[in-house]
Symmetry: C2
Subunit: 149 residues, 2 copies
Amino acid sequence: MAFQSELEVFRKFLKNQGMRYTPEREAIIKEIFSIHDHFDVDGLYISMRRKGLRVSKASIYRLIPLLIEANLIAEVFFDKGQTYYEHIYGHEHHCHLRCKECNKIEEFSDPRLKDLEKELSERFGYKILTHKLQVIGICSKCQAKEDSA
Amino acid sequence: MAFQSELEVFRKFLKNQGMRYTPEREAIIKEIFSIHDHFDVDGLYISMRRKGLRVSKASIYRLIPLLIEANLIAEVFFDKGQTYYEHIYGHEHHCHLRCKECNKIEEFSDPRLKDLEKELSERFGYKILTHKLQVIGICSKCQAKEDSA
DNA sequence: AAAGAAATTGTAACTCAGTATCAATAAGCC
DNA sequence: GGCTTATTGATACTGAGTTACAATTTCTTT
């Protein structure tokens, strides 16, 4: 099957669920997939307003769980109280390495985690769905700052 | 050096920081370390009230960051919006396997994660501090329920 | 042991992300 | 085009966590 755009995938998802495709949803999705980085609701709302796209925050908050259910985006929690999202449709599963000081994020993936999943599945009798690994450290720039301080 | 109790460690920590040891702090810490499981602020507060220990929630909220800084406890996020804590003093670092349905938690640790940390450190130039791995799946009981449903 | 500086407490007000309510509107099926 | 029902935006609300502040307590100094 040919690659379908996020919009196509989502239209089908909505139809399946008896839900409706609206200009507001389209605008939000287009905005989300024009950002090639992690995003949050507030940032999304502000950047849409700047472009004159008027949708309410409530609509964004209402749309996000649908996009998650449709496997287009996923939640990422970098730190307490801040919720971010990232695209997952058409992306490899990956993990995050975060600098504790400046919050810079590096992405990586590692085949050993698949092996680990398999072993855990056998050991505990779980059906494994996914994993979230966050490695926390200090990036080289911030290390340099600390040393000179 | 002999094993120091959590209370001893914390008293030293407070002294180092020019902070004071109060009956409220003592009561909260004793309560925390009498729980041998993950805990949250609300649960802690309720169980202290039940025992007639009267401390304000504000004091609990104020104490927790200190216990984290003293490396006695750590935050664990099982799911959006719920903050839990666990003891880490005198415990091996471990990761969590969580059932998406019933939220049951299994703990495990794996030496490969240390190797991974080392590789990431070299590859990205980070000084690695820690990692948090959460594996999400469906436990055997919940799988059985789903099958029969 | 008393005094005094400074930290801590509890209460209550506040913040902020996210949710629920509801009347007005619009999508999608006939 | 008309009708059913989902969706929207505005607004009110919720709940976790924080902050301000006056009263109290710790801890150091004498």
